[in-house]
Amino acid sequence: MPQFGFSISKPRAINLDTNDQVPAERLLQEVPELKTCIACGGCTATCTAGNLTDFNFRKMHTLVRRGEYREVYEQMDKCMLCGKCRLVCPRGINTRAVVIKIKRVLGDY
């Protein structure tokens, strides 16, 4: 093959026609109130880990719900399970459970 000096870029788009939604559906069965998230970002604003690392809890669970799982499992390791996010959530989402269930559904993914 000729050396072109570049490779063909892969699309960045979230493709809902091909993404595997099964882990996402399992997560929402376990923590159904996560569906009511309105992305206020309160959880991320108060997050102990998010203030020290690039951990963005709101973004991570939104990605899972879109069927995007790459690196999410590893990101969840940054959570200290302090529980402050649960106190601030205006929708009453059990955010600590979300962290643990994401690890569980993605652990064998």
Partner: protein, 353 residues
């Protein structure tokens, strides 16, 4: 598809007395296209078109690569207009989409900011002693072919019909971004459902493919292509289009922009080499034509006179469907019979058969 909205977007296209503004790169990419345009407009249609050796590149590639400042390119444009004025013409016929975008953008800037126009006039006068009148009409060369499409259709030697099946040939039309994405009113059919190339295909007997990524940019993008390390996203855009159009089994692609026609053609080779993926019938690629080449084939011009041997993807499957009588042995011979060499065989280009 009920593509009727194009009738709401009409622009004036001059009917005669054109001053031809050539592209800097098309003469290398598709060396027969501009010659074919002059022949079609001048000889077939009997219109007055002036091919002025004194005009220059519009410097649009430099402009879009942050090398040529806007003030400079506006002065270059002013010089083109001065040459046109001196030659006694008022209707610009622009060969290139990038240039067309540059001309329309410049004229709109002068329209909005007359002080800038005055400054450019002053710069041009100081540098060259020339003065100019603004054109009465600026049309892209594809607008002009569109304008005369019925007349070209009446002279057709070949209709865009598959002679083996009797079905209309399926054409993908690809419009250069700077044709109407800068000023939708400047494009026949506007920006979402442009009709300039679709109208040619339909007028000459073919059917137009509307595929999901029809409106997507080819990926040329100037600095995306010019910088080798960035070509990965340039080619990815073309690939996205090929993947999207492939299920519709197009017989050909026609484009009205130098960069688009070039890259939709050449990237098929690149994708074949890098990923082993080919598109089109029998995996031999989808032939890509300029609008002049398409018009030339319809009018019965010799494909090698049109420069079709310079394409990456072999055009022979399309010529066979059209019923074009061509000499395979003459593919790499120029008019005086000199052999110009042939490319190495590749997945989308068989070289000399």
């Amino acid at each position: 598809m009920r593509r009727n909205s194009w009738k709401e977007y009409q622009k004036e296209v001059a009917d005669d007395r054109y001053y031809y503004l050539r592209s800097c790169i098309r003469q290398n990419f598709f060396p027969g296209s501009e010659k074919a345009f002059l022949k079609i407009v001048g000889e077939e249609l009997g219109r007055d078109i002036f091919d002025d050796p004194a005009h220059t590149s519009c410097t649009g590639i430099g402009y879009h690569s942050d090398i040529v400042p806007y003030e400079t390119i506006m002065t270059v444009v002013a010089r083109q207009f001065a040459m046109m004025t001196e030659a006694g013409y008022e209707n610009a016929a622009v060969s290139c989409i990038t240039s067309f975008g540059v001309y329309t953008e410049t004229l709109e800037t002068w329209n909005e900011f007359p002080d800038i126009e005055a400054k450019v006039r002053e710069n041009l006068y100081k540098a060259t002693g020339r003065e100019f009148r603004k054109p009465r009409n600026v049309s892209h060369a594809s607008d002009i072919i569109f304008h005369h499409r019925e007349e070209i259709g009446r002279r057709a030697k070949h209709r865009l019909v598959n002679r083996f099946t009797g079905e209309p040939l399926r054409g993908v039309e690809h419009i250069g971004c700077h044709y109407a994405k800068i000023f939708p009113r400047e494009g026949i059919g506007g920006v979402e459902f442009p009709y300039v190339l679709a109208g040619m295909i339909e007028a000459w007997g073919g059917s137009v493919v509307d595929y999901p990524e029809r409106r997507h940019c080819c990926g040329f993008g100037f600095r995306n292509y010019l910088v080798q390390a960035n070509r990965g996203y340039s080619v990815a855009n073309s690939q996205k289009k090929f993947e999207s159009m492939a299920p519709f089994k197009p017989d050909f692609i026609v484009a009205n922009c130098p960069g688009c026609a070039m890259f939709l053609d050449r990237w098929q080779y690149t994708i074949a080499e890098i990923e082993g993926t080919t598109y089109g019938e029998d995996g031999r690629g989808i032939p890509v034509l300029t609008y002049e080449e398409l018009a030339g084939l319809v009018l019965g011009y010799d494909p090698w006179e049109l420069g079709l041997q310079m394409h990456q993807v072999d055009v022979e499957p399309l010529l066979n469907k059209l019923g074009v009588d061509y000499d395979p042995a003459a593919k790499y011979l120029v008019t005086n019979g000199r052999y110009i060499g042939c490319p190495e065989p590749a997945m989308v280009n068989m070289g000399a058969e």
